[in-house]
Structure formats: structure tokens, C-alpha cells
Symmetry: C2
Subunit: 332 residues, 2 copies
């Protein structure tokens, strides 16, 4: 799929939801501040200035709008979702010892790990303050469950990512935690706050879940076949960081004894030498696992679209369908 | 005050609240588990086994009981409070690069910083799940506000602790954040869940706030004059870690030029030599700041007791009054 002059789906959504997105931006800036600790606005301003597409809060706004919500609280929930996301980014960068995020130095590099851990905690707490404001118990349950699932997925990744016994089922669990849980919760709370019926809320959840999984698989695939300029990442970062992702999991499943020894040495033991990445790419090609991974991503994007199919026609619904296509267009 | 054969106040409270405390323990064990990530129960079991007095959840139970609550949800709130506390301990140990906690190796030492950060996040998320269960909006606001105040206090401490410009006002703000916010919230939610009137809830808050401040000042004082066996800490740990606490803040306020240069070198610049701790202790003695710090702790304990004075007589009230005396008895 080519993305020529036509606006990309998330830009169309952003334009459609421009007023709401501006309100979310204002609320985020207001709540990211701190009266007492000057380090907090320093770090959070760095994050806000770095931008990002704000895909997750947009999903909450889109979901609420599609379900006919006309109250003010979708803005609070969208900001909540972005705060949870930002807090996990701060902590992820500490855990991964990252130096770059969105093309800029990470907070842990500019300040220190301490600031990233504690400002992340502050944003988590702020997100929980925000989510109480609409006064909806189901919404609080959905979002606090999502926060627990995210943390659980991140911890699971710690132990599973360098273990060759990790199969596609565990990979999916990690991905559901680290990525899909917030996508699905973001969609779900938009519907719940709008008073949508159970079937609709389930459809919104399923869309977010499948879209999140597609999104993460695409990310993991691009790590092995993207163009550095397009992704802001270098080919093979996950390999160098010994992260077992879907392309390698599929290759390990088909590995002969010698190939298995290679993966044990490079991923499990982390003893990497010059030429190992090239050899890894050769093995992925031999077993055609990049194509198989691509097919999985397309499947999940199709599941996302199928989830929305029963819902009534709506401009936003069309844009969300296009968004699912767009997420996988980077690998098509 | 001697603590001979008579039970200490927190042991009397624990005995009085034994059934409730057992229920809290069960709930904590149940919710600290994780279906998917085996690292989580490993780390949390280490923390639970290490014990600790569970002072904070006991305060919630005591407060609810004193206010006549007979429902089941004080147990959830007590567990919530302990989860928030445990999550902050995990993150504190990463921030402080601690090796020991409650006489045992810390989780960051036994596993790694990654596990401590992410399992801490998991416990935060679990605490927010738990706090939604009673379905009380005011309770959620109090506890999510407390979580934000705690994180804010920790961040403030990062920048304030090595800055000689930090005065007693900023110290108090840090202490309110890192310690008193959870004490006061623990007391407050016990009253709110019991349907206590505003004046009572305010009294409970004030008690927790003052007790938390007394508790932290005692801790900071003992760092300069405790007996190692009694505290599990070595004399001068805060000095070596360049943490500006009340005894030093009072000494800096009275320092002449030469003394100020000493504090700048040892605390701000962290260039410490053999004999510096002894010289620091000499300066604290010269300006009599340990006695002044002790007097402040006693003042706060008295404020805690005064806050409870207007409340009706109750066995629990007596034990809470005794608890305030006990907290400062370690320095009397």
C-alpha cells in the first residue's frame, strides 16, 4: 500500500478529533506538572516535546465518539491512557538501558535512572488520579487491570526473551501485555464511558487487542527488515539485545542441531561475534520466517477489522479500519 | 521509656486486630501472585517472607475499627496500602542502590534492577486494582493522591538531598511525601470506609500525618546516634550517602564559613575522607542539633496524640496514642 498525498489514517483521525486532541494535550501538560518537585516538569516536558503520535489516546477519543459520547470525560480517559503509556516508556528505557527514544536522548541518559523510575511512578499515580475523575467503576477496573497486565507482560518478557524455550504462545502473552493491553483498554473505556452495550464494548476490545498485536509484530519484523531511516532503529537491535521475537522464535522452531547451537550461543548466552547478525538473517531467510511473521501481522490486522464489522457505519469506524491496514502497510 | 515485659503498642494493636491482619496477609499473598510471570511470585515472596511490621495496613484496620466499621473492605484497603508501600520500597532500593532491606539482601541485588522496577510497577497496578474493589470514590481519590504525593516527595528528595540550600521547609515536604502521605492516607481511608464524619476523618488524617513525620525524623536522627544493633543501620549511612537530613540541615543553618565549606565538600560535592563522619558528628554536637531534632520528633508525636484527643474513647484510640509515644521512645 502506498501512502502518497492522501492523509494517513491516524492523521485523518487526528484532524477529525482535533478539538478533543487539543483538550487532551492541555490536560496532559497541566497534569504532568508538579508544584513541588522541579525535576518532574523538566523530565515530562522533555517527553511531551518529543511528541509521538498519541495513537493510544486517539483510540479512546475515537471509540467514545463512534459510540456517540457527548460528555467531557473521554478527554480524561485519553490522558490517563497516555500517562500510563509514558510511564511505561520511562521505565522501559531504564530496563533496556536505552539511549534513544523518538530520535532524542532518553530521560535516563539526560538525567539518571533514578529520575526515570520516580517520574514514571509519578505519572502512574497521576494516571490513577485522572481515571477516578469520571467516577465510573467499570472504567477504573478496565484501566487498573490493563496496568497490571502491562507490568506482568514486561516481567514475563524479562525472563522469556532470552530463553529458547519461549514459543509463540508466550510471545503472544508478552505482546498482549506490553502492547495490546493498553490498545484494548483504550478502545474499551471509550465505549464504556459512552454507555455502549456489551457486544459493542467487546468488539472495541477485540479491535484494540488485535491491532496492538499486529502493531507489535510489525515492530518486531521491521527490526530485521526495515530501512533504518523509516524506523529510527538499526537492523538487528533486538538480536544484539538478545530479545527473542517472532521471526527468531519461528526460526528456532525449525532449527537443526547446528542452528540451535547458534541461537543458544547468541541469544541465550549472549556471546555474539562479528558476522552473527548476517548469519541470523541467513537463517531467517532459509526458514522463510520473515514472510511467516508478515502473514501473522496481516492476520491480526484482519481480525481487528473483522471485530469492527458488526458495528454501525460511522466515519470514525472507517478510519479505524483504515488504521488497521495502515499499521501493517509498513511491511506490505 | 522502657519496653520491658509489656507488649509494645503495635504488638497490642496486632493482637487486637489479629483476625483482620490475618485476612490482610492472605489477601496480600493472593494478589502478589501472578499467573503468567514466574519472576513476580519469586520477588514478592522474598518481600513477604522478610516480614516487616505491617504498620501501615494495621493503621487502616485500626482506624476503620475505631470508627465502628463492620464491613469487609478495610481488609482490601489495608492490603492496598501495603502494596503501595512495598512497591515504593522496591523502587527506592533501585534508586538508592541499596544492598540490604530488613536485614536481607534486596531484590535488586538478588535479581536485578529490571525486576525491581517492573515488579514494583506490578504491585502499584495491583494496588490500584484492589482500591477499586470497595467501590468508594473518595477512597480512590485519597489513595491515588497519596501515591502521587509519595512519588513527588521521592523526586524532590533526589534534587534536594544534596543541596545545602535545602531548609527545614523542604525537608518537611520531602518527609510528608516519602513517609507521612501514606500514614495519613492509611488512617483517612479507614475512617472514610466506616462513614465517619468530616471532623473525624480530618483528625485521622492529622494523626497519620504527624505520626509519619515523627517516624521519619526519628529514623533520620537514629542514623546519627542509634546503636547499630537496634536499628540495623550503621551510624552515618545518610552522611556517606550524602543525604541532607534534619540534624545536618540544622547544623548547616548555624555553620560558620569553615563549617559550611566542610558540608559543601562532603554533602554537595561528595568528596569524603577518613575522619569526615567524626567531624560531622562533632559539628552536630557543637550546635546541639541532635537534641533539637529529638525535640522536633517529640513535638510531632504530641501533635499526633492531640489530633486523636477529640475522638470518643476506644481501646484502639488508646493504642494509637501509645503508638505515637512508642515511635519516639527509640530516641527518648
Amino acid at each position: 500500500m502506498k501512502n502518497g498525498n492522501a492523509l494517513k489514517p491516524h492523521d485523518r483521525l487526528a484532524a477529525y478529533l482535533a478539538d478533543d486532541m487539543a483538550a487532551v494535550g492541555d490536560l496532559i501538560r497541566e497534569r504532568m506538572a508538579s508544584k513541588h518537585a522541579p525535576r518532574i516538569p523538566e523530565v515530562t516536558a522533555h517527553l511531551v516535546d518529543a511528541g509521538g503520535k498519541r495513537l493510544r489516546p486517539m483510540m479512546t477519543l475515537a471509540s467514545a465518539r463512534m459510540c456517540g459520547y457527548d460528555g467531557p470525560y473521554h478527554v480524561h480517559l485519553a490522558a490517563t491512557v497516555e500517562f500510563i503509556h509514558t510511564a511505561t516508556l520511562l521505565h522501559d528505557d531504564v530496563v533496556d538501558e536505552s539511549a534513544q527514544r523518538r530520535g532524542r536522548p532518553t530521560a535516563n541518559l539526560l538525567w539518571d535512572n533514578q529520575s526515570s523510575v520516580l517520574v514514571g511512578d509519578y505519572l502512574f499515580a497521576r494516571s490513577f488520579q485522572l481515571m477516578t475523575e469520571p467516577g465510573s467503576m467499570p472504567v477504573m477496573r478496565i484501566l487498573s487491570n490493563a496496568a497490571a497486565t502491562i507490568a506482568e507482560g514486561e516481567v514475563l518478557q524479562l525472563t522469556a526473551a532470552q530463553n529458547l524455550a519461549t514459543g509463540e504462545d508466550i510471545y503472544l502473552q508478552v505482546v498482549r501485555g506490553k502492547t495490546a493491553a493498553l490498545f484494548s483498554a483504550a478502545m474499551e473505556v471509550g465505549g464504556v464511558i459512552a454507555g455502549a452495550d456489551d457486544a459493542t464494548v467487546k468488539a472495541l476490545f477485540d479491535y484494540g487487542d488485535a491491532l496492538g498485536i499486529a502493531f507489535q509484530i510489525v515492530d518486531d519484523l521491521l527490526d530485521y527488515r526495515g530501512e533504518p531511516n523509516a524506523t529510527g532503529k538499526n537492523i538487528g537491535d533486538d538480536f544484539r539485545e538478545r530479545k527473542l521475537t517472532l521471526p527468531v522464535i519461528k526460526a528456532v522452531a525449525k532449527a537443526d542441531t547446528e542452528e540451535r547451537a547458534f541461537w543458544e550461543r547468541t541469544i541465550e548466552k549472549g556471546k555474539q561475534e562479528d558476522g552473527d547478525l548476517d548469519h541470523a538473517l541467513t537463517l531467517l531467510a532459509k526458514h522463510d520466517t520473515l514472510s511467516a511473521t508478515q502473514a501473522d501481522a496481516l492476520d491480526w490486522a484482519n481480525k481487528a477489522k473483522a471485530a469492527l464489522a458488526p458495528l454501525p457505519d460511522h466515519d470514525v469506524k472507517e478510519m479505524l479500519v483504515d488504521l488497521a491496514d495502515y499499521v501493517v502497510s509498513r511491511i506490505s
